[in-house]
């Protein structure tokens, strides 16, 4: 299967779980590439949010504390930078701070903006994978390079305790 089809398959598999919900901007309404991997999901599984990435990240954390598994979608890596406090100081510290009493499972999706055929420029195409791997301790960071990596990695993200950040390549939606 191709890159985008594997993403769709993964999202459909996740949507069959009772405890999952998909949240973010453009999960219910078109506007970015990730939307195109969610359009087959039932409407009741989707929560369209305002643009407030920091709150989205911590909302996801809170939902996970109470037993849900949010699939929290951030359309571009550049936009994920707006929730660094929520990610680094809170979600990534919670197991340590609570001595493993709270182990929120948030599955985060983001994408390295595509450069072909349109180049989004310096605010829309950055890849901070190595920086995030360096700064995050409890949150697992996974770069989705190949189509065959995708489904197993989402499966692992759902089945492991703790949270996972899965990073897609926007260009691979077309070229793989």
């Amino acid at each position: 299967m191709k890159y985008k089809d594997e993403l769709i398959r993964s999202m459909e598999w996740l949507s069959e779980k009772d405890d999952t919900t998909f949240i973010g901007q453009s999960v219910k309404y078109s506007g970015n590439a990730i939307y195109n991997t969610l359009s087959t999901l039932p409407d009741e599984k989707l929560i369209e949010l305002p643009v407030f990435e920091e709150i989205q990240m911590s909302m996801s954390t809170g939902m996970a504390m109470n037993g849900l598994v949010p699939i929290s979608c951030f359309p571009r890596f550049d936009f994920l930078m707006r929730c660094m406090d929520a990610l680094v100081n809170h979600l990534d510290k919670m197991q340590n701070m609570t001595e493993f009493t709270y182990r929120p499972k948030v599955i985060m999706r983001t994408s390295i903006g595509s450069t072909n055929p349109l180049n989004g420029g310096v605010q829309h195409t950055n890849n901070y994978t190595n920086e995030f791997k360096s700064i995050l301790n409890e949150v697992k960071v996974v770069l989705l390079d190949e189509p065959e990596d995708i489904f197993p990695q989402f499966e692992k993200a759902y089945n492991r305790q703790g949270s996972t950040l899965l990073i897609e390549h926007g260009d691979h939606y077309n070229d793989k």
Partner: protein, 195 residues
């Protein structure tokens, strides 16, 4: 039932143990807001979630965290991030950090059709911040089961809140609000401690 005397005595013991060098981490002690918190917690149910800041010992005791459990966490350096699963309690030492987490718990309670609610205690500097107002707006518009409480000592560490903002905003009527002036400094006890 946690009385005012129990709260004051607990905080006094923390003070003494801190000054004895037993607690090798910052402590943020409370005083003079016992009556207000006791009254508020009369409406907090056992199964509710409570979110508080770094100054959280009173909230933890009033929500039912046993005295010895709490003291043990404090001695192990967790005064700023006291936590509990039963009762449901979480705190954080970053301004504004708990608010959207509490919002997410409230969202999940509504989604799961649970009957409990969330109590989110913030200081007055946090109340003035953007993250509070976005979270409050979202909670109000979607009628999420969350009650915000603003605890106003007009200080953020030692910075006067009204001076930095050039004034303060009006507190909406659906937010519980009280003012107090603590006898303790922002952190520590005010006395020199040799660790």
């Amino acid at each position: 039932m946690i009385s005012k005397r129990i709260l004051i005595d607990f905080e006094t013991e923390v003070k003494e143990r801190y000054e004895a060098g037993e607690i090798k981490a910052p402590v943020h002690l409370a005083s003079n807001n016992e009556d207000e918190l006791i009254e508020i917690f009369e409406n907090v149910n056992k199964d509710d979630w409570v979110f508080a800041s770094w100054r959280n010992h009173y909230h933890a005791l009033l929500h039912g965290i046993p005295r010895d459990v709490l003291m043990n966490q404090i001695i192990r350096g967790k005064s700023m991030s006291v936590y509990s699963k039963e009762p449901k309690f979480y705190s954080s030492a970053i301004v504004g950090g708990i608010i959207p987490i509490a919002l997410g718990v409230a969202q999940s309670i509504k989604m799961k059709d649970e009957s409990n609610k969330v109590w989110c205690f913030v200081g007055d500097m946090t109340f003035e911040s953007g993250i509070f107002h976005e979270s409050y707006k979202y909670a109000k518009n979607f009628e999420l089961p969350i009650q915000f409480v603003v605890e106003d000592n007009n200080l953020s560490t030692n910075t006067p809140v009204d001076e930095t903002w050039g004034g303060k905003q009006e507190v909406p009527s659906d937010i519980i609000y009280y003012q107090y002036k603590s006898d303790y400094p922002h952190h520590g006890t005010g006395n020199w401690v040799l660790f």
